[in-house]
Symmetry: C2
Subunit: 336 residues, 2 copies
């Protein structure tokens, strides 16, 4: 094989909005396979809000991507070559292979997936990190009980759309917060949320008062900022606030806005708790079993929003932070 | 009896710092005792940061004090007259009788205390609301384990000084944050804290790095603002942040500062939780048993800072918010 690989490598750490100027587009030949290694052709690259954090310097739950390193990303693809007895050519796999077209890696760096019952791209979505995040974040940290009111922000996004549907499957009343009538219509009409709040067109505080007359029992936050504050102001007694992300703040890290209504935690004997999905990797089979079955049975809709072409990566990332995707944003590298 | 009563009644809701202008000083005759009532001569009035919240309008864990109402306060005193078979003249009692010299109330509105083994004033301090707050807030919400690092702000105050000592009794390493060398010296030399940080003279973030090299396991927050942010930045994995108060913000409620480092909860899989001590009133005997025994055995120092004279109430309140007290601030009304 004489393949040429293309990669996006981190060129500079963004201070504000992320753009093409923060990446180097690199072309390089693929190395020869060594014993135990496989060659993966990457078909799908996941675009996740967490990427913004990985590009920043400093202590977090994973080390930052170093300048010059291939940008970190979850991927799914196919084995093109193997010097391992664990995987054969044609196997579908998923793993953290980064923003590139091909990868040569140890066979243990990827895991084989069943792409017949559930499509391959779902392994970077509902059956990948976003799915595990929704599943464990809601059920373990939010711990909703039947009949409770669950509110989720970023409700039309990869994680939020799953959180709301899982909460519905558990018998909760679910209110989603999303931007624009298209997203709001989708989560109510297609996903079965009880109500949607369009934060671009409505006063979120007023709408929460209307849709959560008894207060919020579980608030799953993907966005931070003003929406987190509005939700804190509507907590029910004993509420749980799940801190999953803060996408509204990621491009403004120097001037991070804290939740000024946090004293509502005191008044309402409530809790705000963070989590990192990698802590639950040991229980991934449990979540994938449930989620896979729900998808197969048509109980869970795992919509994807594909951006085509490897070169589109920086634009796709900008689309993510502009909140333009509906469902899981995925970069599709196209056929051979 | 022909007693004249003096009271401080709420005259106006403060927007900034609280002062004498927010109270009316009222003189009025005491009503005749009716059946089931007692006449209490109030000896001690508690000055608590929570008073600032009770003066504000709006939803909280208790209704606000109404304009024209006697200012709410915990008190301790002596029965001067009784038309109840539950209490006799000379009994020492504690209850929420408000900022006044005398009170006529139902016998059930106060409870009889043992002022022989522990002095009467302690029933508005270590054996009153501040003591219960420290005990249940630390042990139930903070849930420190032996060997863990506990940090408390407002560490020379009524609640903070008890929190640190209880944590020491439970085998923790304790770091207190207080303002000025006198307070810092006291909590280390007299109370046995392992270290003190003078937020007026030191960079709190740097000092926390020095004194908590492995991070903070339990942070008990009485102050909010910049100190809360500095503590969040130093959390250990799995940390618990107890939200007890935010005295630095109480006189600036319109412009409440939220903790901009709250995403540290995510990175560190940590929890921030509020509580209200009145939820634990059913378990008060348990706490009073422990606290009373620790005080009697000399294991717990419950220092009091007395301001003399009923008329001094507004000045004493200002002293509280200026952070000038060491230990529990109490208004002492003086002998007969």
């Amino acid at each position: 094989m004489d393949l040429v690989n293309h990669q996006f490598r981190l060129a500079a750490r963004p201070t504000g909005m992320v753009g093409r100027e923060h990446f180097d587009y690199v072309e390089e030949p693929l190395p020869e396979l060594e014993d135990g290694q496989v060659l993966v052709k990457i078909d799908y690259i996941s675009l996740d809000p967490a990427m913004r954090g990985w590009m920043a310097e400093g202590r977090s739950y994973v080390p930052p991507v170093q300048i010059g390193e291939v940008m970190r990303a979850a991927t799914a693809g196919e084995i093109l070559g193997s010097k391992s007895d664990k995987l054969v050519v044609g196997d579908k796999v998923s793993g953290w292979l980064g923003v590139q077209e091909y990868a040569v890696c140890d066979a243990g760096a990827v895991f084989k997936v069943d792409a017949d019952t559930v499509s391959l791209s779902k392994y970077v979505g509902a059956l990948g990190m976003p799915g595990m995040t929704a599943y464990f974040g809601l059920l373990e940290i939010g711990a909703p009980k039947e009949g409770e009111t669950v509110v989720v922000s970023g409700a039309a996004g990869a994680v939020g759309s799953l959180v709301g549907q899982i909460a519905k499957l558990k018998g909760c009343r679910v209110v989603g917060i999303a931007g624009g009538p298209e997203k709001c219509g989708w989560i109510v009409d297609e996903l079965g949320f009880d109500a949607a709040i369009d934060y671009k067109g409505e006063d979120v505080g007023q709408a929460l008062r209307k849709h959560c007359p008894e207060g919020i029992d579980v608030y799953f936050d993907n966005v931070g900022g003003e929406i987190l504050d509005a939700a804190l102001a509507r907590l029910a007694r004993g509420a749980r606030v799940v801190i999953c992300g803060a996408i509204s703040q990621y491009n403004n890290l120097e001037n991070m806005r804290g939740p000024s209504n946090y004293m509502s935690l005191l008044v309402n004997r409530a809790r705000m708790e963070g989590f990192v999905v990698i802590d639950y990797m040991g229980r991934m089979a449990e979540a994938m079993g449930d989620m896979g079955a729900w998808i197969a049975e048509g109980k869970l809709i795992a919509r994807e929003d594909f951006v085509e072409g490897f070169d589109s990566f920086p634009d796709a990332l900008a689309k993510l932070f502009a909140g333009e995707n509906v469902g899981k944003l995925v970069l599709a590298l196209g056929g051979d």
